[in-house]
Symmetry: D2
Subunit: 136 residues, 4 copies
């Protein structure tokens, strides 16, 4: 199971991993003012943050410890606003390559309606001497 290190960023959002498999991970977050934009909708940037936290953690959990895992790019399409209830996110690995993993993340509301799509591309690199270098 992906181990989500407890950070102020994730803790602020109340991120909770619901369940997970080898190439799937689900998460949910209750809607509160801390993830809403000024007009009351869940902030679009939150979907990207959620998708990255889930998929980076799941990719890291699936690889040996000598690999460095980083977000490479994210494409988010906003389809339907969420204003209350719970944000449900379900990620599926579509490509698990040597240097790149690609995840598709579906965001749904409490009625099961599709609200956003995020395609997360994760870069996988060898660890030694990489820590201080650019992700890409």
């Amino acid at each position: 199971m992906p181990r989500l290190v407890d950070t102020p960023f994730d803790r602020h959002f109340g991120l909770e991993i619901v369940s997970t498999g080898e190439d799937q991970v689900q998460a949910s977050v209750p809607v509160g003012d801390e993830i809403r934009q000024p007009v009351g909708l869940v902030h679009g940037g939150f979907y990207a943050a959620l998708a990255e936290s889930m998929t980076v953690a799941a990719t890291r959990a699936a690889l040996p410890g000598d690999k460095v895992v980083r977000a490479h790019s994210a494409q988010t399409s906003f389809l339907r606003p969420i204003v209350d209830g719970t944000v449900h996110a379900s990620a599926r690995a579509r490509h698990r390559g040597r240097t790149t993993w690609v995840w598709e993340v579906e965001i749904t509301d409490d009625h099961g309606r599709l609200c956003a799509l995020v395609r997360m591309t994760i870069a996988v690199r060898d660890a030694p001497g990489e820590a201080a270098t650019p992700a890409a």
Copy 2:
């Protein structure tokens, strides 16, 4: 000048608008643990959140009050990690259409190095009876 309504989301991140013009807007955010991922880098989702807050606010400020402005999509490329100092964001409107605005946002670090690119597409709709309907 875009008026950024003071919300828990933006306040959590310490977002500050530095300066702005009709089709440009700059913002900066000091790096702290609240925007870092577990391994100490600024969270990629934060760049998307920052880009959306800036460009939605700037688009809204430029249009009459009977228009509804919403994030439509975001594409973020992560080029170089930021670990401390200040996140600098500069957005430029590249297309100001009747139903869509497109902004390109550059994220740089304190040394002026390009660290991320975000292309934000904003949907513009007529307000009456739109508030409860999907953005797209």
Copy 3:
């Protein structure tokens, strides 16, 4: 069934619609030099062209004649090269909104391996007086 008007562009590529439903469409194209890049792989731009031709046609077929349908954006991830055989494309409508449709298109090779993912966003507008104006 989406009616693919016979144009020099599509004819050049040998595009063939295999089957289709209300929110799904499949197509296939035999690999030849006309869709290869210099080093022998199928040209990435071809996947975007194929995805657009399929999804614009399918969206248009599903809507009344007073709607104008245009490509709004495309995000393509290249996962595995195709060098010969047949390019298989399968598109599924994920969002059918009033002003935007979003399709996800999977490109596979003859062995059923996922080779590219394309997310096509289609803009839907009212026809009268729109013909000469920008899509967005």
Copy 4:
């Protein structure tokens, strides 16, 4: 100067490199039926094809011969249709990393109006034993 190998794909489109620098490349293509969609606009897939041909060639030209260069992803936003005249494309390298280059390509018409934006991400890999493996 990037050497564009003469292939049926590029020849079909009449692609012509106008000028180029170390991290910039321009190209132009006359509009004809071979790049138009059924309703007379330049096909959106053509912009992606053009952007890939230019930036893959320019990246390859800038690197030593033991590197393999491949399209990794493309994000295209369609802003304004082109129906005749010449398609002008101008690409600028925004990131030249060890494993990834990112180019931004602007497509304009004969009046200098911005018609499309393409962000091309190019993967750079070591050549030996790479030819038969996935791009990513």
